[in-house]
């Protein structure tokens, strides 16, 4: 591979689709067809490396593979494939993959048709001037209706589907057709000079236990070589390239990588955060005169508190967060103290799935027991004295008398659904303070757009949407800025004491019903104690809802004789373990999962 690649034979493309339409499975097929891995090495969704990705069957990180495809025209094409995540939380990953490619494979599930993220992703691809190959996947399914779905693609997206490829990534039907379409219909990168000063885009960076920080790049012009001293133009940092390589899909070293190609390098880069995505990589001693535009970093939109169950684990938690942050610059954390939960961190995420994933990784990979508090958005408080406060945590809300008004982030949501579920969806959006902007019907499917406060969506909107539509509705959103809202801080008192970790900002009009729901939930979530426990929701000093947990009546082992004494002691040990999952507030023990579960609403 030291021979410079013939640039006209390179095809760089992303695979985009709605979640679960089969991007990763298709990528697997393409890899195995091109012989990238032996059958033994092929595990399902090979590109989904993380345990979490494999278990949940979703892609979180975009991944890249270089394939060699001998086409029917007798030429061998170099295919750089980028598999992208479908979930809306990781839309950012999609956009940077797109900017490293000239084409996209749009995968549409032939049984489901166009969904919200199909739209979002294909529009992004069009914005990047991509050539698009439409692939109808899952045609093996009895419910597949490729013709109807093609019509839908034409009607909804406006793409010509006369040359759409039909395939089944699962059973392998049509895979050669997909490869032919990639080779013949997608454009090569524009011809560039391999000897020009190096100009490459930093596409992604992550931390690998064996290789350290790995940087994924796309060369625009010039050549990147092992041993070269390079510089990232925006941050100004310079490194010596230790290793250059491509993913086949196993990382494989090469001497150099030239224009139009995608590859990785390693150097002595300490943190992923040092490698700013979108930055321009150039040679230190012979820099390119003009840097690339770059893109703005992903901003966390959802915040929550994460606390160790056992206060003694605080330092371990800090270390674990540092490790995860090494690999994921879109996750942020800073120290927080809570009267109820002690020392912990206020963390920022791209969305709820991102939050769940980080939480799960902390618990699993670092063996920590954690309490996660209610997710919240960032409110902008306009103060009477003219200053502005960014409120990440409802517990930090200043005295209302000092606040002039509160602004909250809004989003535009796009929802696609079979029209028989529309009624429930409209009600859900309405209940969540949504404002409908458009409603279209295409082939028995409805597409609605709503403007909604992010705060109403952040928590369980997606779950609710899935349940009211029996799983059929799909959803995508984008931020549209701040709007003023009539918001108040609601506190929850358990046995008379406010639990700061349960306080939240709510819309005044919803406060009472939200307060009632919270109290009812907590009543079910907190186990009975030896005494009765009042639970109250309050705004300022005023109680707006109240429930009481009755005292426990009977809890005793009936038989306890000579042989049972040891057993009793073991029971005590078991109770001790159970207690670790509880948090003590005054005399009340609250199970750690209650902090999140208390917020789940059923909009019935």
């Amino acid at each position: 591979m030291s021979e410079p690649t013939d640039q006209s034979l390179i095809r760089n493309f992303s695979i985009v689709a709605h979640i679960d339409h089969g991007k990763s499975t298709l990528a697997d097929r393409l890899i195995s067809y091109c012989g990238g891995l032996s059958d033994r090495e092929m595990s399902e969704q090979v590109l989904d490396n993380m345990d979490i990705e494999k278990e949940r069957g979703i892609t979180i990180k975009a991944q890249t593979v270089r394939l060699e495809y001998p086409a029917k025209d007798g030429k061998t094409y170099i295919l750089n494939l980028m598999d992208t995540p479908g979930h809306v939380d990781f839309a950012y990953e999609v956009s940077r993959s797109l900017s490293a490619c000239e084409g996209s494979i749009l995968v549409v599930d032939a049984s489901q048709g166009v969904e919200a993220q199909t739209l979002a992703n294909v529009y992004q691809a069009i914005e990047h001037d991509h050539e698009i190959v439409t692939v109808l996947n899952k045609i093996d399914l009895p419910a597949a209706e490729p013709d109807r779905v093609k019509q839908q693609i034409e009607d909804v997206i406006g793409l010509d589907t006369s040359d759409a490829v039909e395939c089944s990534a699962k059973s392998g039907i049509g895979i050669p057709d997909v490869l032919e379409a990639i080779a013949l219909r997608l454009p090569p990168p524009s011809q560039q000079d391999p000897d020009a000063p190096l100009k490459a885009m930093l596409v992604d960076a992550w931390y690998d236990t064996y290789m350290g920080v790995v940087v994924l790049f796309r060369v625009i012009e010039g050549t990147i070589k092992k041993g070269m001293r390079i510089r990232t133009m925006n941050t100004g940092a310079s490194y010596t390239v230790d290793k250059v390589g491509t993913f086949l899909p196993k990382p494989t070293d090469v001497k150099s990588i030239g224009p139009g190609e995608i590859g990785f390098f390693t150097g002595s880069i300490k943190e992923v955060a040092d490698a700013a995505v979108g930055d321009t990589i150039t040679e230190d001693k012979r820099p390119t005169p003009v840097a690339l535009d770059g893109f703005k970093p992903a901003q966390p939109v959802v915040f929550c508190g994460i606390f160790p169950v056992d206060a003694a684990d605080f330092e371990d938690l800090r270390a674990a967060m540092g490790r995860l942050r090494l690999n994921d610059a879109s996750f942020s954390y800073e120290m927080e103290t809570s009267a109820a939960l002690g020392f912990g961190f206020r963390c920022g995420f791209l969305g709820l799935l991102h939050l769940e994933i980080i939480q799960e990784r902390l618990e699993r990979e670092f063996d920590l027991d954690l309490i996660t508090t209610a997710p919240s958005v960032v409110y902008t408080l306009a103060m009477r004295d003219g200053t502005e406060i960014q409120l990440h945590n409802p517990a930090d809300m200043p005295d209302v008398m000092q606040i002039d008004h509160i602004q909250e982030p809004w989003i535009k949501a796009t929802i696609m659904t079979p029209d028989d579920h529309l009624g429930g969806i409209l009600k859900l959006c309405q209940d969540r303070r949504g404002v409908q902007t458009t409603l279209n019907y295409i082939n028995g499917r409805a597409m609605v757009e709503y403007e909604l406060p992010l705060n109403e969506v952040v928590f369980d909107f997606y779950d609710r949407l899935k349940s009211v539509s029996k799983g059929y509705a799909s959803f995508d959103y984008q931020a549209i800025g701040l709007k003023e809202g009539d918001l108040v801080k609601m506190s929850i008192l358990v046995n008379g004491d406010p639990v700061d970790a349960l306080s939240m900002l709510v819309h005044r009009g919803n406060a009472e019903s939200r307060g009632r729901q919270m109290c009812e939930r907590l009543k079910d979530l907190i186990p009975r104690h030896l005494f009765k426990i009042p639970i109250q929701a309050a705004i300022g000093g005023k109680v707006i809802a109240r429930e009481t947990i009755a005292a426990m009546r009977k809890d005793v082992t009936a038989k306890c004789y000579g042989g049972d004494a040891s057993r009793k002691r073991k029971l005590l040990d078991k109770q001790k373990k159970g207690k670790k999952k509880m948090r003590q507030f005054g005399r009340v023990e609250i199970p750690q999962e209650a902090f999140i579960a208390a917020l789940k609403m059923d909009d019935s």
């Binding site: 104690h529 030896l530 005494f531 426990m552 009546r553 009977k554 809890d555 005793v556 082992t557 009936a558 038989k559 306890c560 004789y561 000579g562 042989g563 004494a565 040891s566 009793k568 002691r569 029971l571 005590l572 109770q575 001790k576 207690k579 005399r587």
Partner: protein
Amino acid sequence: MSSQIIPNRIMEGASAPLAIYIHWPYCARICPYCDFNVYKRKEDTALLPAILRDLEHWRELTGSRTITSIHFGGGTPSLMSPVQVGAIIDKVADLWTFYAPEIALEANPHEMSAADWRGYRDAGLTRMSLGIQTFHDPALKFLGRDHDGTTAQSALDLALDIFPSVSADIIFGWAGQTPRMLADDLRRALDAGTQHISTYQLTIEDGTAFAKAEGRGQARAVNTDLSADLYDLVRDTLIDAGFEHYEVSNFAKPSHRSRHNLAYWQGLDYVGVGPGAHGRVTQNNKRTATIAHLTPGAYARAVTETGAGIDSREVLSASDWASEYLLMGLRIDEGISLRRYHEILGEDLNEIELNALVEDGLLTRADDNLKATSHGRLLLNAVTERLLLA
């Protein structure tokens, strides 16, 4: 009652009380809710010699002591002949000193035998504990018992005729049981003149046939909602009838408490002989927990080969010992000595929790004595959890 609390210093030495438990692991058939160490068999000629020899070993362990009780449990110890029972009692009398001991045996109504039971009495038995469970025929069937209500009644009458003290086990909380049925069971036991009643709520223990039936979806589980009400009913009825509610599940006419079981609850020493039996010995201010080999075969073999049936012994840590003392001691109406607790652990109970529990009406405290109120005894698991895990 606090006068019954035995100070630490007399826990050891020749005058220290010692209870003897003999486990006879055989039953004619196995009940579906049973989670004891039992085997379906009627006779075993190797077991008695092993038990006698194991007792000798225990004598070496404990030194000279005062025997306050011997208890034959199981299994079904009434499958033993009066001669076998007598051999064990005589052996114990040879090895240690008797102090008017309570000598009790557990029996099932359907194996009732006037001749054998009189034989037991002649061998020294002072008390019989009868597994009545209920007088209600369909329930007996459902519980997999071999006897019917009439048999239960005559067995109870016979036992009362022969022994100075008789206890009846009554089980409640089985599916379909109404408060009336339970009241009726109690009434029949009381009318017969029973001096001691142990009542248990039916629980489904792991590994039992009931648990398997439940697992298969044949829900035979007890209705737990009712159980607190039923428990109140038992307590009220028996207290009205002049019984003392002296332990969570045990009620006795004055001077008919089970002395043997009190030894467990008071944290005294007990010998555990026979397959799977547990024992406790306190020496040099260390408390050792023992467990005998579980199966009859392994037990008899161990005794033949080593002279002892003990399979495991564990010196309890101060905190395990103190926990046991508290967990067991709060079950009985006399409660525990806080001083004693401190002697064992070197620390006091958490004063804040303790006061809070007293304030909630779950515990009472008078100087050195701590006990659970009758309300607190019903919630003992939660109470002890608060005290010990605070």
